[in-house]
Structure formats: structure tokens, C-alpha cells
């Protein structure tokens, strides 16, 4: 069963149907083979975008995930209407993904190590952060501090959600402040950046990890490339705003292949987690 069915387009790199084309190397791939390889292209290692449910399935020990804060649901505080009303947009996304908003949080084990996990869902309104995402992530951070558990946040987001305007903006301050508290309690925060991590999500919790790791070639940045181009009218350098580019410029600790994520996270926890979470 896949959460991805019908979600997104090929352009976003989300699989559809029995066969799929890799947006990187252009090869036609048998869907099942790709799924068995954790949604990574067996030919070129392109990492497909995956839904939050699928990420949890891949990352957390089977059967160990206990979802939390899932009763927090989006409101429409500004009664926002563009070409479509926000509340209709929300209803559509909820129907499409089966989730109430763009993050899934809870407690789980990775290679037997307990931790608090928040996973953003790029298939729900581009993983954008409004009040619900901010609130659930904050509660996950608070739970990590309270229980002395390591915190993993998997970011995959287009940024702050326009339809909640300044309330979305304030989620950046809220989550960053909560991370300051976790930091003060000595808690471990591993920030995992997946494709894409941009805008207000990058400019808040995503960049505040004790360790910041990223999947290969993920788009990571603050300003959108079109905005940059419109401002400076200069060709952007090769690999601009990709994981490897960020590592080169000193903003992430290391790039990690999806198949190695569990091992690498477990290793960081073994070195830096609190005693109760370390073996």
C-alpha cells in the first residue's frame, strides 16, 4: 500500500503507476524495484520524494511507531481565499493524503533506540508549515526535552504556508524557541533534510540541528531559484542549493544515502544521546 498514489506529479519525482521514469537519468523503471530500493533509482541513485508515512515506514523499526498529536487539525484563521478557498484546498489535500496536515509526529525506535520523530509530508500542500505543522513540531520538541529522548525532524517543505500568513511566519519563531529550550536541557536534535527544504522551514528548525544531515542532491535553500534569478539576473552555479553544495559551504555535517540513514542516525545517538536512549 502506498500513500503516494495519485499524489503529485512526475515533475515532483513522485512515483505513479506500474512503470515510472527517473527524472534524473530518464530511465524507465519498474516501480516495485524502486520501492524495494527505498524509492531510490537503482541506476543513478536519484532519491525520489516520499510521503511522510512512507518515510516513517522506511526509517523507524517496523511496528514501533506510535503517532502523537494527530488530533491537532488545521483551522482557517484568516478565511483565506485565492483562486480557491484555503478550507477547500485543505479538504482536498486531506482527502488525497489521508492526513490532516503536512507533518506526522510520534515516538519510535530506530535500530532499537527510542526517539521522538517528526516527519514533514511533501505531498501535503508541498509540506508547507502553517499553525498545525508549527504546533505539532513544537510539541514533539517539548516531548523530546521532557522525556530526554533524541529528536529527529525530517524536513521536506516548500516553506511557510502563505494561507496562514503571519501566523505561519510565527511558527518559525515558535519552533526555534522550543529548540533553544531543548538545547538548554542538553537534548540531541538531528535535523534530516530531504528534497526539498526551502524558505521558512530552512530558516528555522531545519538549520538548527546539533547535527544537520541531508539526502543526496536535495534542494536546500532559503530563497527560491526563480526569485533569485529575477533579482540578480545571473546564471546560478552548477549544483546551487543542493546538499553537496551546502556541505561544501559548511552548512551541513554530511550527505547520507537513504539506505544508510538508520545506521547513521543510530551512530549519532550512540555518541551523543542521553544515557536512557543509548546502548
Amino acid at each position: 500500500m502506498s500513500q503516494d498514489q495519485g499524489a503529485g506529479t512526475k515533475k515532483e519525482g513522485i512515483p505513479e503507476g506500474l512503470w515510472m521514469r527517473c527524472p534524473e537519468c530518464g530511465d524507465m523503471l519498474y516501480r516495485k524495484v524502486v520501492e524495494e530500493a527505498l524509492d531510490v533509482c537503482p541506476k543513478c541513485d536519484y532519491h525520489f520524494r516520499i510521503s511522510a508515512r512512507k518515510r516513517i515506514e522506511q526509517l523507524v523499526d517496523p511496528g514501533s511507531f506510535e503517532e502523537m498529536f494527530d488530533d491537532i487539525e488545521p483551522a482557517d484563521p484568516l478565511k483565506f481565499v485565492d483562486k480557491k478557498a484555503y478550507k477547500d484546498r485543505l479538504a482536498g489535500e486531506q482527502k488525497k493524503t489521508g492526513n490532516s496536515d503536512a507533518v506526522i509526529c510520534g515516538k519510535g525506535f530506530i535500530k532499537g533506540r527510542p526517539m521522538m520523530v517528526a516527519v514533514m509530508d511533501p505531498t501535503f500542500m508541498m509540506g508547507s508549515m502553517g499553525s498545525v505543522v508549527g504546533e505539532k513540531i513544537t510539541q514533539t520538541i517539548e516531548a523530546a526535552a521532557e522525556e530526554g529522548l533524541p529528536l529527529i525532524i525530517v524536513s521536506a517543505s516548500g516553506g511557510a504556508r502563505m494561507q496562514e500568513s503571519t501566523l505561519s511566519l510565527m511558527q518559525m519563531a515558535k519552533t526555534s524557541a522550543a529548540l533553544a529550550k531543548l538545547d538548554e536541557s542538553g537534548g540531541l536534535f538531528i535535523s534530516l533534510l530531504a528534497d526539498p527544504t526551502t524558505g521558512g522551514v530552512t530558516a528555522s528548525f531545519a538549520m538548527l540541528g546539533d547535527f544537520i544531515i541531508a539526502e543526496p542532491k536535495a534542494l536546500i535553500g532559503f530563497a527560491g531559484q526563480r526569485t533569485i534569478w529575477n533579482t540578480i539576473k545571473v546564471e546560478l552555479p552548477e549544483g546551487f542549493q543542493r546538499s553537496e553544495f551546502l556541505q561544501e559551504h559548511g552548512f551541513i555535517d554530511f550527505v547520507v544515502h537513504r539506505k544508510d540513514l538508520r545506521n547513521e542516525i543510530a551512530r549519532l545517538v550512540d555518541f551523543c544521546g542521553k544515557p536512557e536512549s543509548v546502548r
Partner: protein, 362 residues
């Protein structure tokens, strides 16, 4: 008929500005200004007044009665227009060429200002200014965006769009303020953080995130006023404060109306609709609880009377700093920081009441 040419969006339209005299109004000194589109009826009235004044002087005829009537009409029209500004018109006022900027406010309200330069890592970003200031009878660390006035200064300041080194300079100065017991006052006026290659290479996102995290736990009082534009993370990067206020015709939003229109309406033409939908005015944001106070501007906006605007700002800053002092007489610095945390902890609206507040406080 009217000599006034227009710039729909003041500050972004190149070309010679049309400077003209406002008629003397209740003995107040007249100011020069650019004409916004929705202010054209006002400009026409001004012209009539000027023509009549000229006629009176040339022909030695007494038009004082007519002039009085015209001036009364002018004032009531001004009031009518500014009492009913749309969100998009407010954005244009916030961007007005002649709206006072950081450096103007420093000149008008600071008894002393010693500017401090550089982030100690890479460079000095003139889009954000920092300095030791005496303001409203207090010694403070004053930090704010500056957009620049003439072309040369605008280019030097990147039009008030800050780079990472601007945010890092601000944070360095806030840490100094913490160490030496000075309150921090920040004045926000930016369309956003600079979108460029160097800014991304040097960690624009990281610098903004770091500032928010550190401001949330800075052990000194912080006061923020959005004086003009409050564009997204570029604004919030110096905006996590114990008290946040906006000047009456400032705007504050997650994205500019043009940017929002471009994405959600697939074109820039719907900026006015986007401005309305984004609820970005001081009035809306006070209602939403995002800001604590609105600082009123003189009739017709700060650009018509910068000194009154500056006076209102100074009065507000002085009052707020006194409030911080009296809070700290009865409470500890940790209490202040905890209150700041709780303020931002409450932000947002979801369908389920938040449950973790009590735990967070304990």
C-alpha cells in the same frame, strides 16, 4: 490637468520624482512628497490651492475665504482616504519614498548613536544597522534595517535586503547588549532577506534561524517595532521580542503581496487581492495577536510629518522600556525570558486547543 505624475508603487518606479509643496495646513510646516495613485485627488486639491494662492498674490484679490474652504476640504479628504486605506494602499504607504527610515529615526530620536560595524566573520552589511544609542532617556542597543534614500545609498544598503552577515552582526550586537545589560530595540523595515547567490552560500537560512533561536533566550529585554515593511523571515530575523509593535501603516507578512500573487494567482496583477487576503495590516495583526501594539501615525502617514511619527515612536519606546524595568524590579530576568517564550509559544491557530502549555511552563 494635474501636474502630478504617479508612481503606483512608490520607491520602485525609476524616474524623476515629482516633488511638490503641500499647502500649509493649520500652520504646520509643509512637506514635499511623492504622489501615490490613491492620493491623486489630494494632489489635485493641492494644485487648486496653489493656483488660487498664486492668483491672490498676483491680482491682489482676497481669496482667503475660498482658500480656507479648500484647505478644510483637503484635510477632510485626507482623513477620509487614510481612514479607509485598503491593505494594498497601506503597503504603498509603508514603501513611500519619503517615509522615515532607520537613519532618519536615529537623527530624530537618539541623543547619541555610535554605530557598530561588522559580523566578525565576513563583512559589514549596511542593510542592517546596529549601534549604541540613547533613546527616550535609556541606553539601548539599537538595531534596524535601512533601505537608503538616493540611488547610491540604496545600492550600498541592498535596498534594505539583508545578507547573512547583517543578521550575524545583529546577533553579535544583541549578545553584547546581553553581556552589558542594555535592552535591545529593533526597527524592522525590509521587503525581505536578500535573494542572491552569496547570501545562500553564506547561509541566509541558518543566520535567520540562529537569530530567532538566540533572541528567544537572550537575557535582556527586547522591543521590536515594524516601522515600514515587515517582509517574512528577513523581518522576523530581528523580530523575536518581549513586545512587538507596528507603526500604523506598516505591513508584516509571510510573503510580499506580489510574491503571493505570483504563486497563488500565477501572476503579479493580483497583488491587491493578495494584500487583502494576507491580513498584513497593523489592525489585523493586532486582532490576530501577532503584535502587541499599534503606534499611531500622523494624519496622512509618517511621510507627511516625520517628526510627529518619530515623536510617537520615541514615546512608545520610552514607555515600553520603563515597563520592562518595572517588570524586572518585581521579577527575574528568567521570568522575562519565560514570558517571551510563552508569547511565541501561543502563536498560531489550530482546531484543537493546545494542551502542552502548562507542561512547557513547568
Amino acid at each position: 490637468m494635474s501636474q502630478a505624475t504617479r508612481s503606483d508603487v512608490a520607491g520602485t518606479t525609476p524616474g524623476a520624482p515629482i516633488l511638490k509643496q503641500i499647502p500649509s495646513n493649520n500652520g504646520k510646516a509643509s512637506v514635499t512628497r511623492h504622489v501615490l495613485k490613491f492620493e491623486e485627488p489630494l494632489a489635485r486639491l493641492e494644485n487648486q490651492i496653489q493656483e488660487l494662492e498664486a492668483l491672490q498674490a498676483a491680482r491682489q484679490i482676497d481669496y482667503s475665504k475660498e482658500l480656507r474652504q479648500l484647505r478644510t476640504n483637503y484635510t477632510s479628504l485626507l482623513r477620509k482616504i487614510y481612514d479607509n486605506l485598503s491593505a494594498w494602499e497601506t503597503v504603498q504607504v509603508a514603501r513611500h519614498q519619503l517615509r522615515p527610515q532607520f537613519k532618519d529615526y536615529v537623527e530624530m530620536i537618539c541623543r547619541e548613536f555610535r554605530e557598530l560595524h561588522g559580523d566578525r566573520h565576513y563583512g559589514d552589511d549596511l542593510a542592517i544597522r546596529c549601534g549604541l544609542a540613547r533613546l527616550g532617556g535609556h541606553k539601548v542597543m539599537l538595531i534596524g534595517h535601512n533601505k537608503g534614500k538616493d540611488t547610491k545609498e540604496k545600492v550600498q544598503c541592498y535596498f534594505g535586503l539583508a545578507h547573512p552577515e547583517g543578521y550575524r552582526k545583529a546577533l553579535r550586537c544583541m549578545k553584547l547588549a546581553e553581556k552589558f545589560g542594555l535592552p535591545v530595540v529593533t526597527l524592522i523595515d525590509t521587503a525581505g532577506a536578500y535573494p542572491g547567490i552569496g547570501a545562500e552560500e553564506r547561509g541566509q537560512a541558518e543566520s535567520i534561524a540562529r537569530n530567532m533561536m538566540e533572541m528567544s533566550r537572550l537575557k535582556t529585554p527586547i522591543l521590536t517595532v515594524v516601522t515600514g515593511e515587515g517582509g517574512s523571515g528577513g523581518a522576523l530575523g530581528i523580530g523575536v521580542a518581549d513586545k512587538v509593535a507596528m507603526m500604523e501603516y506598516a505591513w508584516y507578512s509571510v510573503i510580499s503581496p506580489e510574491g503571493c500573487s505570483g504563486i497563488l494567482w500565477k501572476g503579479a496583477e493580483n497583488a491587491a487581492d493578495a494584500a487583502e487576503a494576507l491580513k498584513l495590516t497593523s489592525k489585523h495583526l493586532k486582532q490576530l495577536g501577532v503584535i502587541d501594539a499599534v503606534i499611531s501615525e500622523p494624519l496622512g502617514g509618517a511621510h507627511r510629518d516625520p517628526h510627529t511619527a518619530a515623536h510617537n515612536l520615541e514615546t512608545f519606546v520610552a514607555k515600553s522600556l520603563r515597563e520592562f524595568n518595572s517588570f524586572l524590579k518585581r521579577n527575574s530576568m528568567d521570568d522575562l525570558v519565560e514570558r517571551r517564550y510563552e508569547k511565541f509559544r501561543q502563536m498560531g491557530e489550530t482546531l484543537k486547543p493546545k494542551t502542552n502549555i502548562a507542561k512547557a511552563a513547568g
